[in-house]
Symmetry: C2
Subunit: 343 residues, 2 copies
């Protein structure tokens, strides 16, 4: 039945007016029928629904937004899309929102303050209903503003303003978990090759390691070694370590890349992993842990879950729940692989 719809040419997107005309009712009735309001005869409702289906009617979100003062959008403002840390957070948030009816705007400030302000204002101009700010590292960062008209959740890097709500991975706990795992699997002579001391993540993980070592009644076989996050640093530090500490049986590396370097050095030196020394990293970076020899045990920071949590928190805040603010630390988890297998 290919009847033509008078007044509707099919090129332009159908409006409620088209639906109403086709169903022979007023615009008001059509709206009520489609939105499940009562005050509409069942038969009329069906006619409207059929008409809407026929012209593929989809309400114009701009008209809806104009009316109810909400856009159904949120902004994701990242400092650093390149770095692989913020990405899973974005993914988690995007997924959590996207499966609902919220659409997400993405903007990358690239670590530039000007750009950040630009994008923040672009978001505000667009009337996003909320905002997630994802930093490029876990160091505390300046707030985006104290009197913003919309709720903001800071993810990864917490806001310096205690009134803001921040969600961060628990790096201290990550350090503890690492030690507990090694101790559980029978290691007693542990060393820590940390990362760049300028990063809070490095210091936090170190703190966790030291706490857990003390709690286990042990002490590190060597002073904590700070350096960079690179494989090269992992190699140098490991060589020095093996030289100085013959009884060494477990190396905690503050990143997967460092651990990768450590593994390489140990292989060069002929030290078998995990038979003589266990090696463990942080971040659980798939590309690194899977291809290393042997596969690397690593502490996963649960970034995707963090993104999801941020999205849920934002959703709550947008629906009016007031929160005290502050920094919440989210749990991390250890992924065991061959590099720390019990011997």
């Amino acid at each position: 039945m290919a009847t033509s719809n008078p007044g509707f040419d099919g090129r332009r997107a159908a409006t409620l007016r088209d639906v109403a005309a086709l169903a022979g009712v007023s615009i008001a009735t059509a709206s009520k029928a489609l939105n499940g309001r009562d005050q509409v005869h069942p038969e009329t409702r069906e006619r409207v629904i059929a008409a809407a289906a026929k012209v593929a009617f989809r309400p114009n979100p701009m008209a809806q937004g104009l009316l109810r003062g909400q856009t159904g959008t949120v902004g994701l403002l990242t400092d650093d899309l390149v770095g692989r840390f913020s990405l899973p957070i974005l993914m988690g948030a995007e997924d959590e929102f996207g499966s609902g009816s919220v659409s997400v705007f993405l903007a990358d400030a690239r670590g530039d303050a000007i750009r950040q302000r630009h994008h923040l204002h672009a978001f505000l101009d667009r009337r996003v209903d909320g905002l997630i700010a994802v930093a490029s590292n876990t160091d505390p960062r300046a707030t985006l503003g104290r009197e913003l008209p919309i709720p903001v959740i800071y993810a990864y890097g917490p806001s310096l303003d205690p009134d803001d709500t921040s969600l961060v991975p628990d790096n201290v706990s990550a350090g503890e978990i690492a030690v507990e795992h090694l101790v559980t699997t029978g290691r007693r002579h542990l060393a820590l090759i940390s990362g760049d001391e300028a990063y809070l993540a490095a210091r936090d993980r170190t703190e966790g390691v030291q706490r857990a070592v003390a709690a286990a009644g042990l002490s590190l076989v060597e002073q904590v070694m700070y350096g960079s996050w690179s494989e090269a640093w992992g190699r140098t530090a490991t060589r020095a370590l093996v030289d100085r500490v013959p009884e060494l049986d477990g190396i905690i590396c503050a990143s997967d890349q460092i651990a990768r370097g450590s593994l390489d050095a140990l292989r060069d030196l002929g030290v078998p992993v995990p038979e003589r020394v266990a090696v463990l990293g942080f971040d659980n970076w798939e590309a690194v842990v899977a291809d290393s020899r042997p596969p690397l045990t690593s502490v996963d920071m649960n970034f995707e879950a963090l993104g999801r949590a941020a999205a849920r928190r934002l959703t709550q805040a947008m629906s009016g729940e007031r929160h005290a603010g502050g920094v919440e630390k989210l749990p991390v988890r250890l992924v065991a692989r061959a590099s720390t297998a019990r011997v």
Copy 2:
């Protein structure tokens, strides 16, 4: 001078009505004043502008959009946010749009057809002005739809429909460039360790390599070896190669990861790089090339430029320019590092 603005409480975002009232003019005049229309006395215009500044007026994009039938937004629909290939494309596109006044929606289909349709319709419902579809690999993919009401640019993986416009990296040329570089730096006995043959990228790069080898009047010292994209494959293939072909002096690996494995195997075997054998990869993946020993020469697929180009093409299409459609291949570039240094 903290005078209160009658009728404007500061909580709600200021509207043109507030500005007009504050400046003592009509809404129409206020609009014209702010939009640089003539028919406004210079002095009046100044008053309006001052009023707008005072209440921090920003036009409501929903009202504007409703009127002009455009939203000033585009959708970025990716198949795979995790994979590191689509990300730089997104970055390029985001940057190109974001520096203008276009905002970008992001959605990740995660390789799932249902999810893809869901997000496509979410975008259409939001009335985005255009769409960029980023695939997870270079294999041709199904079109998103033949009769979409907005322009669509396919990036990375081209659409199977020849009427669609697709932008892809030139993998054949990438293969050629790799060979030319090795030949130029004095290598004559080349082998190719390719990737997973199921991927068009692997076959295209292989084709380019073979063409360029022939063009140089040479031939590969071994049949093309297909395998996987992993370091492990790079190691096995390299060991076999070194075993069988003593005169070998250049290995082309179809990805940086394969190359990384190859370098590891060569070091294990005591074959010096680049002194005896040059090694070269594809993708220029920072984390891999920088930390490998020696640093790895690699063919960069220029993904960010591809994203920018896609954004520009979409902008053209949105402003009405008709394009013939088809697949356009974008140039790639070689980044030389120590692993292929001339001896």
